[in-house]
């Protein structure tokens, strides 16, 4: 198992280096630069432009800038934001728990609903349940998140008044961050009603963010189940007179879970992309909104280091998924 983990870790090194190049180049390929955007309609003289560019260190050859960036990375220095002047890592760590909280909730919703729906749709293949659920999944998958989020806000917060419109907790609760996870901090604060308020704020954004992964997971579960249920060992189990619940629960589902887990793991990337829009609509102070703001301001250090941190994280999750295969299927860890 240790060799398995080590070999997986080794793969990460070139991938990580590749990401540093992509993250570094991405924001520089975009037209426009931070100095121009800062000046706006007013304009900036070429001398002042050059002076500011030099002050930011962006007058050096790009390759040199890249190695500077890499060198500082190895010392754990992710740079400072051009706008807020604060260390990128500090900002990331401040905002990251909000995204994790939202992402975890979304993935839990997506899995808890998506897997059973997929299983049921596979068992009752061709039934009205199968057709309705898979059509809904297709609609969910193609839903423009921005529109969907706004629609839910107007319905549940505006018309029905069941959920708050946006934010992480009611403004009347005010306590310092301990973990950065609002559900935990609200409990720790000991303020009455804080936890309920945090939870109610989490519902709509989680549902919106869960929509696409939920659709993907349900469809993937269904097709994996269908495939497994056609296998000889399932037929044999059935022929032996095993009750259907055991056939499905033990033989089919366990084997169908491998592609489903892969899918769930891959949804982390989708979640990050979805978080950008979801966080903007729901005024959720996470890293998605932070990235959008920084890209539009061409805040180079934030975009490059932020992308790197996010990519690093997605890689880590994928690694964990790979390791989980090893746990589920011993044959994988020996190859």
């Amino acid at each position: 198992m240790i060799r398995f983990i080590l070999s997986k870790l080794l793969y990460l090194v070139p991938t990580f280096l590749g990401i540093t190049i992509i993250a570094f180049s991405f924001v520089r390929i975009l037209p426009g630069d931070p100095v121009l955007l800062m000046a706006g309609e007013r304009g900036v003289t070429p001398e002042r432009h050059a002076e500011l560019t030099a002050q930011l260190g962006y007058d050096k050859p790009v390759v040199l800038q890249y190695f500077d960036f890499l060198g500082r990375l190895f010392h754990g220095d992710f740079g400072n934001s051009l706008v807020t002047k604060k260390p990128v890592l500090t900002e990331f760590l401040t905002l990251f728990p909000a995204t994790v909280e939202l992402g975890l909730c979304a993935i839990i919703i997506a899995t808890l609903i998506g897997v059973p729906v997929g299983v049921l749709a596979a068992i009752k293949r061709g039934s009205w349940f199968d057709q309705i659920s898979m059509t809904t999944a297709l609609i969910g998958f193609s839903m423009p998140i921005f529109w969907w989020g706004l629609l839910l806000i107007i319905l549940f917060s505006g018309i029905l008044g069941w959920t708050p419109v946006s934010g992480r907790i009611d403004l009347l609760y005010y306590f310092p961050d301990v973990t950065g996870f609002m559900l935990i901090d609200s409990l720790l604060s000991g303020q009455k009603g804080a936890f309920t308020s945090a939870l109610s704020h989490l519902i709509l954004p989680s549902v919106v963010l869960a929509t696409i992964p939920l659709a993907v997971i349900a469809r993937q579960t269904r097709s994996a189940m269908l495939e497994v249920m056609g296998e000889d060992y399932v037929r044999t189990a059935r022929a032996k007179g095993m009750p259907p619940s055991r056939v499905i629960g033990i033989h089919a589902l366990r084997n169908a879970m491998i592609p489903v887990i892969t899918t769930i793991g891959l949804q982390i990337g989708v979640l990050m992309a979805g978080a950008i829009l979801t966080e903007t609509i729901f005024s959720w102070p996470g890293i998605g909104k932070w990235m959008i703001d920084s890209i539009s301001r061409r805040d180079y250090p934030v975009v490059q280091s932020g992308l790197l941190l996010i990519a690093g994280l997605v890689m880590l999750v994928n690694l964990l998924v790979d390791l989980t295969y090893g746990l589920i299927n011993p044959r994988i860890r020996n190859t």
Partner: protein
């Protein structure tokens, strides 16, 4: 509304701990953007100033609420020397600095604070010039303060003398701008000693109506009333900014009672807001202009007659109706009607395609093709540049002018549109900084601004026009200045370097329970006068 009631209860709980009246009033503002920081000097965004300069700080001079008139601020009075280059400010006595858990002031505001606040921006040798690596003072620089200010001297603790290199009539308005906020020298020294200089930008201390309490990044900013405020004390006890970037969501929050007031509603929502009895809507002509700037150095656009003909071929009212949804006033002058010296006697060129056609033929222009540049972003002065360009394209095709619409990414658009020899006319606009006509006319249309680093995108250099602006800049008498600017607008209209599009209306929706909010022509959001009905 349930939410607000609950908020009041909790706010009063908070207030009791901080020894304030038991019935605390909390006002929630759904702000549109996160502040970049809380030191106003290094930043340029209005959203940042609403969170820093306006609630927390004061300046030597201030804009009178709801106007662009300058009134005394931290300077109680001032004298200007005969030649207009020396300003002696008499500072207000007994102005208390705020405190926070790390700092308690030992003295009141005085001349040292004024000198420190300016010197750190203008003097590269000042140890606070780069108190955060990479910090710059773009507003100070772009308002030409480094060239303008020769020296600042402390005469005594409550008297400061500014000496300028040249007379500058808008100077008093310039120093009422957010970048010129006065920060505490004593606080800076304390931070220096503690080795936490960046806290000047994180934990601000000012003299303004509200004290900073806390900022949760991208989510919430909290302030509390400054009990020692030297001016009229705020009516509300606590002020909260709930950062909500999306306009539609802001409106939902306002409707749900999660906030009391919001900036920048979407134009499409205005009718719905007017119809909602639980809300009210303040409106005011914005201090802005949207325009189409020809390249007046390129034939045939170097001929005023051609420009005039094109202006007459475009149906301005149709643009105001379709693009601004009526929320704008068609523009005839380069400055908005709310600004002093606006020349209302000027008659706009009539929309007359037939006459335009004839004028083009007279100028010998046939088969004209041109480009129109449409901005890729929405700005307060222009909700949809692409749609505007399309309407122009259609109108111009009727007089036989073929238009190609082009666009670039925003940063690139700003840079490329200032390149000499630019092909095409550019849609852009301007929002005033300080309410002075010079801040529009000199910045956007003078000979000086037609070159590198300027913002004169028509590259229009008319000696007579520029001379009038220069004279007005060194004239102290407002009546004389008004006459000069009025004359300048006559030349502008005659020479037509722009097609002036519109001055867009600014709207502020708020809960019907809110009273006392005063809209600022400069687009600032300030809350010391607001109240909420129980």
């Amino acid at each position: 509304m349930k939410m607000i009631t609950r908020m009041l209860v909790a706010a009063s709980a908070l207030a009791m701990t901080s020894a304030m009246p038991a019935l605390a009033k909390t006002f929630v503002y759904c702000s549109e953007a996160s502040p970049e920081g809380f030191d106003p000097a290094p930043y340029t965004a209005g959203g940042t100033f609403d969170a820093s300069a306006h609630p927390i700080y004061n300046r030597l001079t201030e804009f009178k609420k709801g106007t662009t008139e300058v009134e005394p601020g931290l300077a109680e009075s001032w004298e200007v020397s005969e030649d207009g280059t020396e300003y002696t400010f008499h500072l207000r006595k007994g102005v208390k600095w705020q405190s926070n858990e790390k700092f308690t002031p030992t003295r009141d505001f005085n001349a040292d604070d004024v000198i420190f606040s300016y010197d750190r921006q203008g003097n590269a040798e000042n140890p606070w010039h780069q108190y955060i690596p990479g910090i710059t003072y773009e507003y100070y620089t772009s308002m030409a303060m480094p060239d303008l200010i020769k020296s600042i001297e402390k005469i005594d603790d409550y008297t400061v003398k500014f000496t300028l290199n040249t007379p500058e009539a808008p100077f008093l308005a310039n120093i009422a701008m957010p970048f010129a906020s006065i920060v505490s020298k004593e606080y800076a020294d304390a931070l220096d000693a503690a080795g936490t200089r960046e806290d000047l930008n994180n934990m601000p201390i000012g003299t303004g109506p509200f004290k900073f309490v806390a900022y949760q990044k991208d989510a919430v900013i909290r302030y509390t009333k400054n009990p020692d405020y030297w001016g009229t004390a705020p009516i509300i006890d606590d002020l909260v900014f709930a950062i909500t970037p999306d306009a539609a969501v802001r409106l939902q929050k306002l409707k749900a009672g999660e906030c009391h007031l919001m900036p920048y509603p979407a134009p499409a929502d205005i009718e719905g807001i007017k119809a909602d009895a639980s809300l009210k809507l303040d409106e005011q002509a914005g201090l802005n202009v949207g325009y189409l700037a020809y390249n007046t150095t390129m034939p045939p656009f170097d001929n005023p007659k051609v420009r005039k003909a094109l202006n007459m071929a475009i149906n301005k009212q149709a643009i105001v109706d379709a693009v601004f949804q009526g929320a704008a006033e068609p523009a005839k002058n380069p400055i908005p009607p709310t600004m002093w010296s606006y020349n209302d006697a000027i008659v706009d060129d009539a929309y007359d395609p037939e006459a335009a056609k004839a004028m083009l033929a007279e100028a010998g222009v046939t088969d004209l093709s041109m480009k129109i540049w449409a901005m890729p972003v929405q700005r307060p002065y222009m909700p949809n540049a692409k749609r505007t360009a399309e309407l122009m394209q259609e109108d111009l095709s009727k007089v036989g002018v073929k238009v190609e619409i082009v666009s670039y990414e925003w940063g690139e658009y700003l840079a490329k549109s200032m390149e000499p020899g630019r092909d095409g006319a550019v849609i852009l606009g301007w929002t005033g900084d300080n309410g002075d006509p010079d801040n529009f006319l000199s910045v956007l249309l003078s000979c000086d601004s037609a070159g590198d680093g300027g913002a004169n995108r028509a590259f229009w250099c008319n000696e007579d026009f520029s001379k009038l602006l220069k004279d007005a800049k060194i004239t102290a008498d407002p009546a004389e200045r008004t006459a000069l600017y009025e004359q300048a607008q006559v030349i502008f209209k005659d020479q037509a370097p722009w097609f002036t599009i519109a001055h867009s209306t600014q709207y502020v929706p708020m809960s019907a329970k809110v009273s006392g909010f005063v809209m600022s022509p400069l687009g600032d959001f300030t809350f010391e006068t607001v109240d909420i009905a129980e």
